[in-house]
């Protein structure tokens, strides 16, 4: 334990990488699945200890209030997903969709992905962050294509190409930031070190910053899944293994969002630069409205929830774009709740798809009757994701809408319109799947419900009660974000 606490950053960064190497050599998929869970759990513990034992700032390492939220959330969801994945993957093996060699690869990649995401979050260097996000993207590309069906390959390919362009744009933005910083902070690593940048950003050239932000917003926005840069997201979610869908929606989007937030902070600290808010709000609303309409014609259950992720990312980006203590708090809360809820939904969806042998919404009926637990978990998840109480997203949407009404009533109307359209679509699909005469196989699902419970329980409490320390922490960050 003390080792974990003393070397928490090292554990968070290197344990996944080490595990990845180890997993690549282990043949038994049972063992590797367990190792996967254990390693993810240790990483989560180490991340938790970051809360109490903050390491010293290094040139490459940064642990501050903002990224701890992301790290803890990330490692937690990564841990629960690995537990879910253990039972999920076994079933895939049983149904011959995957071979053992694939599994070895899958587990190694899973840990590599975690390591890369942790690195992206913890890096004190915008170049390093960029590299880490690129690695994470490439890893997920491979995982999306793991089933090797034409559809999966096509999705992976689309993800790959669009992701690469996004990476390129983000890199150009990063170079521009460096160019802006160089005259002020000098050459070399200092020009890319976040702590240095934020200290001196007020003296940077605003025009370069503006240009940089456009590229960064589009580059990392591609990863966040903002419309019109979203195209990779639905297919990648739909065609990959479900644990990966959960990780994509619950984690990778957040990591990219984290990058956007970092650069928003830079922009906001320079008095001459354009305010980043309007651009973020526009993109956020556009994503929300677009995804809301796209929900209607979905036939594939995973693609449906992928679009819902786009919608929520839109809401979150809108909230952060609007800024202010309330909206930032709401944005953070919404992000955390979305991660937990959406991954829980994907857990349920994955089991449903395994039991019913299909991802087609039209072929899934009457789940609450045939599989009460799964069905009601899905109902609870969807109820939470559309922002109904007692889910925590009710609180965050409440705050976002009320502060939008106070700051920009016209935008609040658009926001509410988008939310309502999305609500109607999701509930419509939910009705079809959860109620009515059951269809298809009624044999019970043999998978662990624990991850789902672990995710939904805090979400359902959050709408009614948030622990004061958590509130204080979030409020502190919200104030940091302006």
């Amino acid at each position: 334990m003390t080792f974990l606490a003393d070397h928490n950053v090292q554990v968070v960064l290197f344990l996944p990488l080490a595990t990845a190497v180890a997993l690549a050599t282990i043949a038994s998929y049972r063992l590797s699945a367990r190792l996967n869970v254990a390693s993810a759990f240790l990483t989560f513990l180490a991340a938790l200890s970051l809360l109490a034992f903050r390491p010293n700032l290094g040139r490459y390492i940064l642990v501050d209030d903002l990224n701890i939220v992301f790290i803890v959330l990330n490692t937690f969801v990564a841990f629960t997903t690995s537990a879910y994945s253990a039972s999920y993957i076994a079933h895939e093996l049983g149904s011959h969709r995957l071979k053992r060699s694939h599994l070895r690869f899958y587990h190694a990649m899973y840990q590599l992905l975690l390591g890369a995401m942790n690195l992206a979050l913890i890096a004190n260097n915008i170049g390093l962050m960029w590299v880490a996000i690129e690695v994470a993207t490439l890893t997920t590309v491979v995982m999306v294509g793991i089933y090797r069906t034409p559809a999966a390959l096509e999705a992976a390919w689309k993800y790959f190409i669009l992701g690469s362009v996004g990476i390129a744009l983000a890199l150009f933005g990063t170079i521009l930031i460096y160019m802006a910083a160089r005259p002020v902070v000098g050459e070399g690593m200092r020009g890319m070190t976040w702590t240095v940048l934020i200290a001196d950003v007020a003296r940077f050239d605003p025009a370069l910053l503006n240009l940089a932000f456009v590229f960064l917003m589009l580059g990392y926005g591609t990863k966040v899944g903002l419309a019109p840069l979203h195209a990779w997201l639905p297919d990648a979610h739909a065609e990959g293994p479900t644990p990966i869908s959960a990780v994509l929606s619950g984690l990778l989007l957040n990591v990219a969002l984290y990058a956007v937030l970092r650069f928003k902070l830079l922009m906001a600290a320079n008095p001459g630069a354009i305010a980043p808010g309007p651009l973020m709000m526009t993109l956020g609303l556009l994503s929300l409205a677009f995804a809301a309409f796209m929900l209607y014609r979905r036939g594939d259950i995973k693609r449906l929830f992928a679009y819902s992720s786009i919608e929520h990312m839109g809401v979150i980006v809108f909230a952060f774009g609007m800024g202010g203590a309330l909206a930032n708090f709401a944005g953070l809360l919404h992000m955390a709740m979305h991660s937990l809820t959406k991954s829980a939904i994907f857990f349920a969806v994955g089991q449903v798809a395994q039991v019913k042998g299909t991802q087609q919404i039209a072929d899934i009926r009457g789940l609450t009757a045939s599989h009460p637990f799964l069905g009601w978990a899905l109902v609870l998840g969807v109820v939470a994701i559309v922002g109904m109480p007692p889910g925590g997203m009710f609180m965050s949407e409440f705050l976002i809408v009320t502060s939008a009404v106070a700051q920009a009533p016209a935008l609040a109307a658009v926001l509410v319109f988008g939310l309502a359209v999305a609500f109607a679509a999701l509930i419509l699909r939910l009705h079809g799947m959860a109620f009515g005469e059951p269809q298809g196989s009624t044999q019970p699902a043999n998978a662990s419900y624990l991850p789902m419970v672990l995710h939904l329980a805090p979400v359902l409490v959050a709408g009614v009660f948030l622990p004061p320390p958590l509130v204080a922490w979030f409020q502190h960050i919200a104030a940091l974000l302006h």
């Binding site: 589009l218 109904m388 705050l399 009320t402 509930i427 009705h431």
Partner: protein
């Protein structure tokens, strides 16, 4: 009982939901749960009534829940106390009824976990003292009732009903959310006390009024937001329907009252205009639809819409008077509104219980297959008759007392200075009178077709009287309908603190008048004495019967019906619900609802059967909802093409966005 005690009791209700889930294997679980809810609600009713009658001072409490920096504010004042009593009394009655009714229920596991939270959420709405707790409870109420509507999800159109319901409920919540956002203002103070402290500007207040009308109106069933109500209320099990129709709509009105009469600050004179107009339209549309449908519970649901319209007319009147400085008149209208709310919660619950009894006995909701139930179910029939009489505003029952008060308020309106109001109010009065008369016809039809005549089907023939729990609940409500009708003065006086809270004036005390009469303005102007009318009717009917039986003949012979000499007519020759409504349909609804009759009468000698078809369309669907859904679908279709682009085209989107932003950057500064 103190506020803290109330909250503990509500917490108990909330806990019963999960308890029902975990104890699902316990025998007699339903009796356990319903018994628990019954006791708790009785306790809450008692506490609320005592506070109300004792004139207890408002009491507030903040819990460390809800919005973290705000806390969960709760407050009980006269208004909350009144609604608390209404909600819990009806809930207690419903639970008692369900002790019997619930036993016949097949989908127990889909009802028991949601019923107690539903009741608890309604309580919480009434006690909430900040926007967050209010909306949270409001939405929880929708959610729980949605789950209850979906209890019989495999039957017929119920899933669609649930969908439309949850959609409209959320629309309303969003409207209220925006309204509270506007009320909170720039500093975002979301506690009600904060909102009271900062009344918004006139334009904002107008917007809030509109949003509150949409938000609360969609839940209460104002036209054109009523469409979900006749779908959802019948779909739920009957004791739930009773709560949804009798109480949840009142909770919606509570929300409206809280916002418009309490939080919004001084009102503008014109606010009453849209309220009365929608109220009148709602009343007439609701009752006409009630006349056109055959489903027992759907008819009741439509009649709820009518009564909500009536209540909104009275509320609008009250506002119109208040803004023109006529305090007593405003108090009269408000008293009438509250009284009618109370009455409606009583008789609508009673009627839904009755329909549940019919359902239990026959498994049939279609009036066209019922008939003659009064013989098999004499007590249920009697209670149902009392309910029908009360809702048709027959003296001396309670429905008449409140409608009489509304008419009295309308008669005071010539003193208003505004021409708009002067022209509007008589028209509203005429529509109200029309609605009242149509309601009479509607309930003659409902009771006459299902309880009188001869059974139209096997199910109706085999009907048996229901158990004593159900009868007990119905009997209590029927008795209350009579009591509130013959002693209106006491009710009016009990309402006066609430009225004072809302409009700042009160009616003269009524119980000081002799003979239990009420005289809202002055005795020379108008007065009514429910007790005397009741006694007169009862005594003269008994007297007449006694005299005739004593002095003349009391011989009776049972014989086949005469029927102008037609021999052994088939029960199918009786008037059906459709045929009963036909004259009214022809007179009123041909144009408005596009009611179309299709008669297929074969020529003489042609042996094929004749057919009669009837189609009714709700124009609101055609002109409001269909365009909206079509718009959304068209938007979805159009945007859906974006799912099927090639990678190159997706890249073009990225490229376009980039160029656009660079252009913007180039043009900017």
């Amino acid at each position: 009982m103190t506020l803290a005690g109330d909250l503990v009791a509500i917490g108990g209700l909330l806990a019963l939901g999960p308890a029902a889930l975990t104890l699902s294997r316990v025998r007699h679980l339903s009796s356990l749960i319903y018994g628990g809810v019954f006791l708790i609600c009785l306790l809450l009713t008692g506490g609320a009534l005592r506070g109300l009658l004792a004139g207890a001072a408002p009491e507030a409490l903040t819990l460390p829940l809800g919005l973290p920096w705000l806390g969960a504010h709760f407050r009980i004042d006269a208004l909350s106390g009144f609604f608390l009593a209404v909600v819990n009394f009806a809930a207690a009655a419903a639970s008692f009824y369900a002790l019997g009714y619930g036993r016949h229920e097949k989908a127990q596991s889909r009802i028991l976990p949601f019923f107690p939270p539903f009741v608890a959420a309604m309580n919480l709405v009434v006690l909430a003292d900040d926007a967050y707790v209010f909306l949270l409870s409001w939405e929880l109420m929708s959610l729980a009732s949605w789950a209850l509507v979906m209890a019989h999800h495999r039957e017929g159109d119920n899933a669609r009903a649930g969908y439309v319901y949850i959609l409209m409920a959320t629309l309303g919540t969003f409207a209220l959310l925006l309204a509270y956002g506007l009320l909170g203002g720039a500093d975002g103070d979301l506690s009600f006390s904060g909102m009271r402290g900062h009344p918004p500007s006139a334009a904002v207040a107008g917007a809030v009024l509109a949003l509150a009308l949409i938000g609360a109106g969609s839940k209460a069933g104002l036209t054109p937001l009523h469409i979900w109500l006749p779908l959802a209320h019948p779909a739920a099990p009957s004791h739930i329907s009773a709560l949804m129709s009798g109480v949840m709509t009142k909770v919606a009105i509570y929300g409206f009252l809280r916002i418009v009469f309490d939080l919004l600050g001084p009102a503008a004179w014109w606010w009453g205009v849209p309220m009365m107009a929608t109220g009148a339209a709602t009343a007439v549309v609701g009752v006409l639809f009630a006349l056109l449908h055959n489903d027992l519970k759907r008819v009741l649901a439509y009649s709820t819409i009518e009564n909500i319209g009536v209540i909104f007319i009275a509320l609008g009147l009250s506002l119109a008077f208040e803004t023109n400085g006529q305090g007593t008149a405003a108090a009269l209208a408000m008293t009438a509104a509250l009284f009618h709310m109370l009455n409606h919660s009583l008789f609508k619950s009673l009627l839904f219980f009755g329909s549940g009894a019919v359902l239990t006995a026959t498994d049939e909701r279609d009036m066209g297959r019922l008939g003659g139930l009064l013989n098999a179910m004499p007590l249920s029939g009697l209670f149902m008759l009392v309910g029908a009489g009360a809702i048709s505003a027959l003296p001396p029952l309670n429905g008449f007392a409140s409608e009489w008060l509304i008419f009295q308020a309308i008669l005071l309106s010539p003193s208003l200075p505004s021409w708009t109001l002067k022209l509007e109010i008589p028209a509203v009065g005429a529509l109200l009178a029309l609605a009242a008369a149509l309601a009479g016809a509607c309930f003659v039809r409902l009771f006459g077709v299902s309880f009188l005549g001869r059974p139209r089907g096997e199910a109706a023939r085999r009907a048996k009287e229901v158990d004593r729990f159900m009868l007990g609940a119905m009997g209590a409500l029927a008795a209350l309908c009579l009591v509130a009708g013959v002693l209106p003065g006491y009710v009016i006086d009990a309402l006066s603190p609430i009225v004072h809270l809302l409009v700042g004036a009160r009616m003269a005390p009524q119980t000081d008048l002799g003979w239990l009469a009420i005289a809202p303005v002055a005795e020379s102007r108008s007065s009514y004495d429910g007790m005397l009318v009741f006694l007169f009717i009862a005594s003269s009917a008994l007297l007449a019967a006694a005299v005739i039986h004593r002095l003349a003949s009391d011989a009776t012979r049972i014989a086949p019906a005469w029927d102008c000499g037609f021999p052994d007519s088939n029960p199918a020759t009786q008037y059906t619900p459709e045929s009963f409504a036909q004259p009214i349909r022809r007179v009123f609804t041909g144009f408005v609802f596009r009611a179309r009759e299709k008669v297929d009468m074969p020529a003489p000698g042609d042996p094929r059967p004749a057919h009669f078809g009837l189609s009714i369309q709700d124009l609101v669907w055609d002109f409001v909802y269909r365009p909206v859904t079509r718009g959304v679908q068209a938007g979805a279709d159009r945007l859906n093409r974006l799912q099927f682009l090639t990678i190159r085209q997706y890249l073009s989107l990225v490229f376009g966005a980039l160029v656009l932003l660079l252009l913007a950057l180039a043009i900017w500064t």
